[in-house]
């Protein structure tokens, strides 16, 4: 325990616990994962003074994310500097949001940021699986279903209303780490 604990100070651990849904063990594990992604860049022991960031490509190599068709978008959403880099804070935040302990509305909020209709359909179904007409049909249907205020756009309110009623959302928008 001693050696592990020294990765963070107690204070940092407490703070992270308050800011995320993780326990200290999980935070430590996440840091190790983060460290393992680029051992030469990330120091073994956490300090928040040095501004360490990893490029998104590196993070997207994680097996948890690699197969995810949305991982690029997902990482971009959580990357705070908008330059395709991710600090440990962002990293932790992302997995906190994706944890199953996170309430629905919060997940919905981030899901809204991540999802992009047209790209999604292509990514979800492979390239030639659906014909153009079918894609059109699906898009049209989704707009019809989701656009509750009838303004021709899918606003966050619409999206949240829709997604919080989805039976699977909580279980699928979730990464166990």
């Amino acid at each position: 325990m001693g050696s592990k604990q020294s990765v963070f100070t107690e204070e940092q651990l407490d703070e992270y616990q308050d800011c995320t849904v993780f326990t200290r063990k999980e935070i430590l594990r996440l840091y190790h994962r983060y460290h393992a992604l680029a051992p030469e860049i990330v120091p073994r022991y956490f300090n928040d003074i040095a501004d360490i960031k990893l490029p998104l490509e590196l993070i997207s190599e994680m097996p948890e994310l690699k197969e995810n068709p949305f991982h690029q978008k997902l990482l971009q959403v959580f990357s705070e500097d908008k330059q395709d880099n991710m600090s440990f804070n962002d990293f932790l935040n992302m997995f906190s949001i994706l944890s199953d302990l996170t309430p629905q509305h919060l997940k919905a909020y981030y899901a809204f940021k991540v999802y992009d209709l047209e790209v999604m359909l292509g990514k979800l179904t492979g390239d030639d699986e659906l014909s153009h007409e079918e894609v059109q049909l699906v898009c049209h249907k989704i707009m019809e279903e989701g656009d509750l205020d009838g303004d021709g756009k899918l606003s966050f309110a619409d999206f949240e209303y829709m997604i919080t009623r989805a039976p699977d959302f909580m279980s699928t928008f979730h990464i166990r780490i």
Binding site: E15, D18, C19, E64, K66, E67, N68, P69, V77, E80, D81, N89, L92, N93, I97, L106, A111, F112, K113, V114, Y115, L117, E118, M120, L124, T125, G126, E129, L130, E134, Q136, L137, V138, C139, H140, I142, M143, E145, G146, L148, D149, G150, D151, G152, K153, L154, S155, F156, A157, F159, M162, I163, R165, A166, P167, F169, S171, T172, F173, H174
Partner: protein, 921 residues
């Protein structure tokens, strides 16, 4: 016009707040409510404080510096007082001043709101950095007029400010501390009022700490907030003398976490316990839910058979094998001398003859000893009860499953977001394996195809008269086929009876096997005929499948019942023989052993069909295709499709045989378990590697109630003969646990007489007298009638409510659309007028800004929806193309839209772009 302006301002506030990740819907409610009600003045003050904070970044260019600085001093002085637990004397004045300040600010904002549209993009870019974001945030604050937002934000900023002042962290928040000095001097005694407020604040902070993890803000910001909140709480908690609350809360949170983790693990464990889940998922992902429904049904059947197997194995076979009389102790437990030689041959054993027949596997082996072994296990009673229990359990399970399925069907009717849910929630983020991911892609594609098919079917319209005619024609043809096959079977059975009476020795192989052969041939070709007929009807594939199932079901049922009738005829024949020649050891029960052989041969047939029909065909098509003159894969033979209807019916009929024969052959459930197990693996494999998905992948109905209904019918039909033999045919005198009794159920009476006190027997006899039973049945009938009536009325009420809901939502939609349209028009007008005013007022400068607005709005006019910087690009089906002139977004979508921090987002949303915006940048 001010009203509109205000509207815009408000919405933009919201948007900005969301953008900056500071808003928190759920928290808003709880945290701010008490504030607004209890400490109204404080709220105002807070907003003032916030404004001050906001201002500190833009002091240079802010026009309202004068009144703000005033209130800033006061605000800080208040905080000082609180810190030092001193009384604040000038509170009232202060409040008044603040109110005034707010008012004046509002007015100003109104005046200025025209400029907000021209807020620039690069400013937003800046806002992406956290500190800068904060800055912009604060800038926006000035114009915020909505209490909730302001309050909350205010709270936070307030706190920031406080901390900064307290700790002298001026560097961080960059505001001058000159006013601070003044305020320090006003230290006085704290009042109870302040104390209460302080308490509230501390509570607030604690709550903030507790809910911080649920805020959608970047980690750095959270950490900072946390630090500040913690410091605040630490500082004041001692004074208020309570620190336990937090600990308790933390404990509670921890326990909740643990509980959730436990639940999750338990859920995982339970899921892991469901066999073949992955296999079925994989099949579902490639072949659609309709094929998967067969496998789910198969698995369900396996579960039932496991229970039946447990019952017969545990309560009948094991006790007999362990404690019953050993093999060879009596004639019924010994292979007859004549068969002795061949009794161990594989062929005999395979046919369940020889030693296999004279074993616990069959009814005839059991003897009528009332109790066996040192446990005094009452085997005949056990046998009887297990037989009855098997039937009873099966009925119960089937009916219960049907009922729960029906519930599901009724309850889960919310299909209003069918496509959206598929789109947004179908990807499972847990997938981390390439193969699983491929499967998932396949399954999502399949499910989309299913839904698209449904949608297309819904839209399909054709010539209704033609369709009707074709349907009638198809049904007529089917009826003809059925009648023909029925007559054929009838004819063949009659012929075979004639042959049997004349003695089979004179006839060849065909005559002997005529009935069987005709039945199998009919079973093979009639479904094909139906298959050819069904496209005429032009049904949705799911409904077509049900029709197909129903027709084949009728066909098979006819076949089965002919078979049973033939069997019963033979039984009657043998009974008569038995009466005539008592020494003849032909025993009618043994005819029912036939089911065992049938089951085995059926299994074999299935396996062979799969191997030849699917596997060999697939191999042929795959490899011969290289050297063939046409494309075999897409041309004529192609790969086989999975035959859902045939497989389902095979399963159901097989189960029917099990139910029918299980009483006389306790080994049947065991054999069936093995069979199901084998066919599960075999078919899973065969489907995945030899079949191709159906041309029109369709969604199975959510419940398998159609299968269940057929199963129920089969269950009823197959238990009828079993029950008939149990109740009304006297058991053979020399075999089985009931030998020597008049009827099988006499075993109960016997047990009552011997093992229960006399009064119990009397009570039982009294209770079973016809009068009581009749009245009981009558009562049950009444109860059923009553329940039926109530359920009908509930159903009607449900329907009514559903209709109402539907109407309401439709109405809402319409109204919203109308509102949005109206708002859009107003916006346009407003925009135009604003432009005019601006032009008049600032000339060329505004021109530039207006251009900026236009360009940033342009994308929306071109069909791509506005928020294309980040987040969801809303489906742009060309039909819904938006061709509005550039304008600020209408209020309709405002609550949600704003959440993009994307640069283009805020054109026209920033309420108060200072005139000197360029300089600021």
């Amino acid at each position: 016009m001010p009203r509109h302006e205000k509207l815009i301002v408000k919405s933009s506030d919201v948007s900005i707040e969301v953008d900056n990740d500071e808003s928190d819907d759920e928290e808003q409610g709880e945290e701010t409510d008490d504030y607004s009600s209890e400490v109204e003045p404080q709220c105002t003050k807070k907003s003032a404080g916030r404004n001050r904070n906001g201002k500190r970044k833009i002091e240079q260019e802010s026009e309202e510096q004068s009144d703000d600085s005033e209130e800033e001093e006061e605000e800080q002085s208040r905080k000082k007082n609180v810190q030092n637990r001193n009384k604040l004397t000038n509170r009232n004045n202060l409040n008044e001043a603040e109110e005034q300040a707010t008012k004046s600010r509002k007015n100003k904002r109104n005046a200025k709101s025209k400029k907000k549209d021209s807020h620039s993009d690069d400013h937003d870019d800046e806002a992406l950095g956290k500190k800068k974001k904060g800055k912009s945030d604060k800038k926006q604050m000035d114009s915020e007029s909505e209490e909730e937002d302001t309050k909350k934000r205010g709270k936070r900023k307030d706190k920031n400010g406080k901390k900064a002042v307290n700790k002298g962290k001026i560097n961080k928040n960059k505001y001058s501390s000159s006013s601070e000095e003044e305020s320090r001097e006003e230290e006085e005694v704290i009042t109870e009022e302040d104390m209460a407020k302080l308490k509230d604040q501390v509570e607030e902070k604690k709550k903030l700490i507790a809910t911080l993890r649920n805020k959608p803000s970047p980690m750095k910001q959270k950490l900072q907030l946390l630090k500040e909140a913690q410091e605040f709480v630490e500082k004041f908690e001692g004074a208020l003398g309570k620190g336990k609350g937090k600990k308790f809360y933390a404990y509670k949170v921890m326990m909740t976490k643990k509980w959730m983790k436990f639940q999750r693990d338990f859920e995982n464990f339970r899921t892991a316990c469901i066999p073949w889940e992955m296999k079925i998922k994989e099949i579902e992902s490639h072949f659609g839910s309709s094929v998967a429904s067969y496998f789910i049904f198969l698995r369900w059947m396996y579960g039932i058979n496991m229970v039946l197997f447990g019952l017969t194995f545990g309560l009948v076979m094991i006790p007999e094998a362990l404690m019953g009389k050993p093999y060879g102790s009596m004639p019924r437990k010994t292979v007859p001398m004549s068969e002795q030689d061949s009794a161990m041959n594989f062929a005999t054993l395979w046919d369940f003859g020889g030693y296999a027949q004279y074993s616990v596997l069959f009814y005839g082996y059991y003897n009528n000893q009332r109790t066996i072994g040192w446990l005094k296990f009452r085997l005949p009673l056990g046998y009887f009860l297990v037989g009855v229990g098997t039937i009873g359990y099966s009925f119960m399970v089937v009916i219960r499953t049907m009922a729960s399925n029906a519930n599901e069907e009724g309850g889960g009717d919310d299909t209003s977001f069918n496509f959206s849910w598929k789109m947004f929630t179908s990807w499972d983020y847990l997938i981390g394996n390439a193969e699983t991911a491929d499967n998932k892609f396949a399954s999502i594609t399949t499910s989309f195809k299913e839904s698209i098919l449904e949608e297309q079917e819904n839209r399909k319209e054709g010539n209704i008269h033609l369709t009707r005619f074709l349907r009638v024609l198809a049904n007529f043809l089917v009826l003809l086929t059925l009648a023909g096959s029925g007559y054929l079977i009838f004819f063949v059975v009659r012929r075979s009876q004639k042959f049997a009476q004349e003695g089979l020795d004179d006839y060849g192989w065909w005559e002997r096997n005529e009935v069987n052969m005709v039945m199998s041939l009919l079973g093979m070709f009639c479904p094909m005929l139906f298959d050819i007929i069904s496209p005429l009807e032009n049904y949705h594939p799911r409904i077509a499948l049900q029709w197909q199932l129903g027709r084949i079901f009728a066909l098979f049922l006819g076949n089965l019942y002919t078979f049973i009738i033939a069997l019963l005829d033979e039984i009657n024949l043998k009974l008569e023989e038995e009466k005539i020649v008592k020494y003849n050891i032909t025993i009618w029960e043994k005819n029912l052993y036939e089911f065992v052989r049938l089951t085995v041969s059926d299994t074999l047939t299935t396996v062979i069909t799969i191997l030849i029909g699917d596997f060999l065909r697939a191999v042929f098509v795959r490899f011969v295709n290289y050297c063939w003159c046409w494309d075999l894969e897409y041309g004529f033979p192609s790969y086989a499709e999975f035959d859902i209807s045939g497989n389902v019916l095979g399963l159901i009929f097989n189960q029917g045989m099990i139910w029918m024969g299980a009483f006389y052959a306790p080994c049947l459930p065991a054999i069936n378990v093995l069979r199901l197990l084998a066919s599960m693996y075999l078919q899973c494999w065969a489907v995945m590697c030899t079949n191709v998905p159906h041309e029109r992948v369709f969604k199975a109905s959510r419940s398998n109630n159609f299968y269940m209904a057929m199963l129920l019918i089969i269950l009823f039909l197959s238990t009828l003969p079993a029950v008939y033999t149990i109740v009304s045919i006297p058991p053979s005198f020399d075999c089985g646990p009931f030998s020597g009794k008049d009827r099988m159920f006499d075993v109960i009476q016997e047990t009552l007489d011997n093992d229960f006190p006399a009064w119990f027997g009397k009570v039982f006899t009294a209770a079973t007298n016809p009068g009581l039973i009749l009245s009981f049945i009558l009562l049950m009938g009444l109860a059923i009638y009553y329940l039926q009536a109530t359920s009908e009325s509930y159903k009607a009420a449900n329907l009514e409510l559903k209709k109402k809901l539907q109407n309401q939502s439709d109405e809402n939609k319409k109204r919203n659309k109308k509102n949005a349209k109206a708002a859009a028009n107003q916006m346009e007008e407003l925009q135009n007028s604003m432009q005019k005013v601006n032009e008049r007022a600032t000339g060329g400068d505004v021109d530039k800004k207006a251009n900026g607005v236009n360009s940033s709005n342009q994308p929306s006019a071109q069909g791509a929806y506005p928020p294309n910087g980040r987040g969801m690009r809303l489906a742009p089906p060309p039909r819904v193309a938006v061709t509005r002139p550039p304008r600020p977004r209408g209020p309709g979508q405002l609550p949600g839209q704003p959440r993009y921090p994307g640069p283009q987002q805020y054109h026209g949303a920033h309420p108060r772009m200072p005139r000197g915006g360029a300089a600021y940048r």
